[in-house]
């Protein structure tokens, strides 16, 4: 049984259809890259998987570990092992990173029948993960993402992923806005978390990230559909020929206008 099976998924925002029939199968341990120009629906797919209410699913099915994913509330998806690394991590002034992450970890642990961690055990756990992401410990006491630089926010997402240890991680343009050093650091964090039990969907606009996080499969999304799938060499082809090489305008919004 695949970990995740998406069949003919349609989704709209307002009266605009963004996903127009997406099918994708992800098995345990696989890393799938989803590439595509701006406006192709990459981020929508990522958010729909995490349960964002902004998008209405109008057709198709998503099965995760044999159960209907679309039936689950966002928190239940997280408890079942789905993690979305946000393209734009949200700033939450007034809630410390530490409080937030401990609450998140403990609800997930509780739902899995594990004991909740106290402050001491939690700190011991996160210390290693912070070292992995080269993050300063003072970040724990700061409010969630508030006053973080772009790079710090992205690192914080991968750090959270390291702590929560999901079964399926969806990385939504985790590379956007990162310089090469930050990119390498984030990729190193992600690679450390690769395992035969953990699957990943890596959404990106650029091939660059895939030099560091080497995918098993690459899918090209355009106009709300997967127009081409292949191995990692497909990303290299895109790098050489651009989306135009596949007959896709680089920015649909512009193309429509």
């Amino acid at each position: 049984m695949p970990l995740l099976e998406i069949k003919d998924l349609h989704a709209t925002v307002g009266d605009r259809e963004i996903l127009k029939g997406i099918s994708l199968t992800v098995n345990a341990g696989e890393v799938h890259a989803i590439m595509g120009p701006n406006g192709s629906g990459k981020s929508t797919l990522a958010q729909v998987l995490a349960g964002r209410e902004l998008y209405a699913v109008t057709g198709g099915q998503v099965t995760y570990q044999g159960q209907d994913l679309l039936e689950l509330a966002p928190e239940d998806r997280a408890r079942a092992g789905i993690f979305l690394a946000f393209q734009y991590p949200v700033e939450i002034p007034g809630v410390s990173n530490m409080y937030f992450l401990k609450a998140a970890l403990n609800t997930i642990r509780k739902s899995q029948g594990l004991e909740e961690l106290d402050a001491f055990d939690f700190l011991t756990l996160v210390r290693d993960k912070m070292t992995l992401m080269n993050m300063d410990q003072t970040l724990l006491n700061r409010p969630v993402n508030t006053g973080f630089s772009g790079g710090e926010k992205k690192r914080n997402e991968i750090f959270q992923m390291a702590v929560l240890e999901p079964k399926l991680a969806v990385l939504d343009e985790t590379d956007s806005g990162l310089d090469i050093d930050a990119l390498k650091l984030v990729a190193h964090g992600v690679n450390t978390l690769r395992s035969p039990e953990r699957s990943m969907i890596v959404v990106t606009h650029y091939q660059r990230l895939l030099d560091y996080i080497v995918p098993d499969f690459v899918h090209v999304l355009a106009g709300g559909r997967i127009v081409k799938s292949g191995g990692k060499e497909l990303a290299l082809q895109l790098e050489r020929e651009g989306y135009a090489g596949l007959g896709i305008a680089d920015d649909e919004e512009v193309a429509v206008a």
Partner: protein, 387 residues
């Protein structure tokens, strides 16, 4: 008999029943009561009271009572004539009936003097109480000398349906540093009306934080007058539920050049509660280079809560920077989703964000035990809310 006379008549009986005070004080009381009798209680036809109907106070009868406040941490006794010199001179009872009514019943005024250059490290605490059926008129006068530093924490509480009508006057000398906190945790069936009048010296650094949690009907007036180069921070937090009504009127008067004021009021409304924020900023003709910022943010958790928010800028100088903004909103959908996407349940996420909204003001409190006490209170409150 007219409605005004009928209402003030009850107070006349209470007023004449009072023991006579020293001549200077009795004179002050007499003229204040006379003014109160002329003004009567305000109605919603008065612009200043448009959204706050005080009829429940005007219609009720309360027995004037003595409630000696508990004062700790104050420096040794003030100069004998200090009260006579300042009391009633700052908070004017000409236009405000409640200030007049307070002044008419001044009995055990708290008078604190912080001498020139003195640094009072521990907060000066004033705790007021009230009890069912009583009218108490707390009065405090705090005179801070030039270059002196102090922190004042006023707290109000009680049990039952009563009426607390407070006036606090603060005079801060040049270059003084004064931090003032007012924590109002009255009974939810009580009436609370309070005026803070602060007269600030040159290059003085002043902050006031008004935390309003209790009371059935609450009105806070905060009036701050700045001098040259004065820096004033005026913050407030109000959290109301049920049928609570809280009205915050602030007035920041930039009388001289180079003053700066930062104002941040945040409110959380639930149930059928109502809140009013009216922020007046005056920049006098002389007050060039004034830098003033006003923000009022409201988080409305129910469909039935009502908020009226109004900035009132009176700018008579031309080289100034004044900004103001008000927001009224629900919890941010994106923040909720972010928390949920990490496994935190929707209700817990809501309570966490509500707590965080208030935390922004609590974080600015520089008195550790007060901050911790309020954090705990809020945490429990919103945790309950989530259940």
């Amino acid at each position: 008999m007219s409605a005004v006379a009928e209402q003030t008549g009850q107070w006349l009986a209470e007023f004449t029943r009072q023991e006579k005070a020293a001549p200077w004080l009795q004179g002050l009381r007499d003229s204040a009561f006379q003014r109160f009798a002329e003004l009567g209680f305000p109605t919603t036809h008065d612009e200043e009271w448009r959204f706050t109907n005080v009829a429940p106070i005007a219609r009720s009868h309360f027995a004037s009572a003595t409630s000696v406040p508990l004062v700790t941490g104050a420096p040794a006794g003030p100069e004998a004539n200090l009260a006579e010199q300042y009391l009633g001179k700052l908070a004017s009872f000409q236009a405000n009936a409640f200030v007049a009514l307070n002044t008419a019943f001044v009995r055990d005024a708290v008078v604190i003097q912080v001498p020139r250059g003195a640094v009072v490290e521990k907060p000066i605490r004033i705790e007021y109480g009230n009890a069912d059926g009583a009218y108490v008129a707390p009065r405090a006068l705090i005179v801070v000398g030039p270059d002196a530093h102090c922190t004042i924490v006023e707290s109000y509480s009680g049990a039952g349906r009563y009426f607390t009508n407070a006036v606090t006057e603060i005079v801060a000398g040049d270059c003084a540093v004064v931090d003032h906190y007012k924590v109002q945790r009255e009974d939810t069936s009580a009436f609370h009306v309070a005026t803070l009048q602060a007269q600030l010296g040159r290059s003085t650094n002043f902050s006031t934080h008004s935390i309003s949690l209790g009371g059935a009907l609450v009105r806070n007036d905060v009036n701050v007058v700045l001098s040259e180069g004065t820096e004033a921070t005026v913050n407030g937090l109000y959290i109301v539920n049920g049928t609570q009504h809280v009205d915050n009127h602030t007035s920041i008067d930039h009388a001289k050049p180079h003053g700066a004021s930062h104002e941040l009021y945040k409110g959380i409304l639930d149930g059928k509660s109502a809140a009013v924020f009216n922020g007046r900023i005056i920049v006098r003709k002389d007050a060039q280079k004034t830098d003033s910022k006003q923000t009022n943010k409201n988080l409305v958790l129910s469909d039935d809560a009502v908020i009226d928010t109004k900035p009132e800028l009176q700018i008579h100088a031309d080289d100034v920077r004044c900004t103001h903004g008000a927001t009224i909103g629900q919890l941010d959908a994106e923040s909720l989703f972010y928390l949920q996407s990490r496994g935190i349940g929707k209700q817990q996420a809501r309570s966490l964000l509500t707590y965080a909204f208030a935390q922004d003001i609590i974080d600015r409190i520089q008195v550790p035990d007060l901050r911790e006490q309020l954090e705990k209170f809020l945490f429990e409150k919103f945790h309950e809310h989530a259940q």
